[in-house]
Symmetry: C2
DNA sequence: GTCTATACTCTGATAGAC
DNA sequence: GTCTATCAGAGTATAGAC
């Protein structure tokens, strides 16, 4: 809290005018991150063919996470520091987001363009795979974001195809 | 440290007979986990066809991680609490392990049974996907470990196929 | 709304008796 | 090898002046 206060330019005690305690501050941070994630996806998702929607999701998820490395880091590392009720709220938001991808996979199966033995597992597998990019990506590295999106979409598409 | 001491059944000070400090204790924990991971894979890997080796790797990685949920959790959450030198040691072990999978993918490409536009990215993507199982798996859940292995290998195999 | 000052608790780690 | 006692520092949070 002292460190946050110093960066903001106030004394530690002044922070308690804006948050009842540290846990709530963390919670609001994680919640706004998830809210932005879901809202951003809702804004850009459309109702095209499942393949196009899957490609859009892959590129969106990578780009959104790479644009917010600190927030992604916090979401994964600090989630355990929330109490059970606040934890459950974030978990639900995460599930809401996962459902967006799962629906794409289900629609693709119904349209016979995707084949996944278990759409829930495919959803979790794909998101874990995409989120993993944040652990090794560095600006100015070997691959551009566009190229990374190309490669990952290629793998994802094949993984859920016949 | 007091909590560890209590579970072991000694006083906190007594722990310092076995470790110079807390960071080193964490380091030894992470290192032995990685050493065991690599040794266990070396023991069971053989030189069959790339597809068989890939399937073995997928099943091995899932099983090994599910057998040690606390160690996996520690490895991901506490790695940042190591100083730069110790961090580098663990990172190198992680890379050594990744190389095992990357070699399978490269051999498969040479044998024209795998097609991956970038074997390094495919390696990282596959490992992230497999490790993600630990975040949602619960004993006694909907799917057996065997079935999870089946589903994940199906996706992995297709992801690196033509 | 912010500051100073401080209470209280917890932490990792050490010293010295046994 | 273990315990008791303790230190120094950091942590969150609150009280009261301005």
């Amino acid at each position: 809290m002292r460190q946050i206060a110093a960066e903001v330019g106030v004394q530690a005690g002044a922070l308690y005018l804006y948050t009842p305690d540290k846990e709530t501050l963390l919670f609001e941070l994680l919640r706004s991150h998830m809210d932005e994630l879901i809202a951003a996806w809702q804004r850009q998702s459309d109702q095209g063919a499942p393949q196009a929607r899957l490609e859009a999701f892959v590129r969106f998820h990578i780009a959104f996470n790479l644009d917010r490395p600190e927030a992604v880091f916090l979401s994964y590392m600090e989630l355990r520091n929330l109490g059970p009720e606040k934890f459950a709220v974030i978990e639900q938001l995460r599930k809401d987001y996962e459902t967006q991808l799962e629906q794409i996979l289900k629609d693709g199966q119904a349209a016979k363009v995707f084949v996944a033995p278990d759409s829930k597992l495919a959803t979790l597998a794909i998101i874990a795979m995409l989120t993993g990019v944040t652990t090794w990506y560095r600006d100015g590295g070997r691959l551009s974001r566009q190229k990374i999106g190309d490669i990952y979409y290629d793998m994802v598409r094949k993984a859920v195809s016949a």
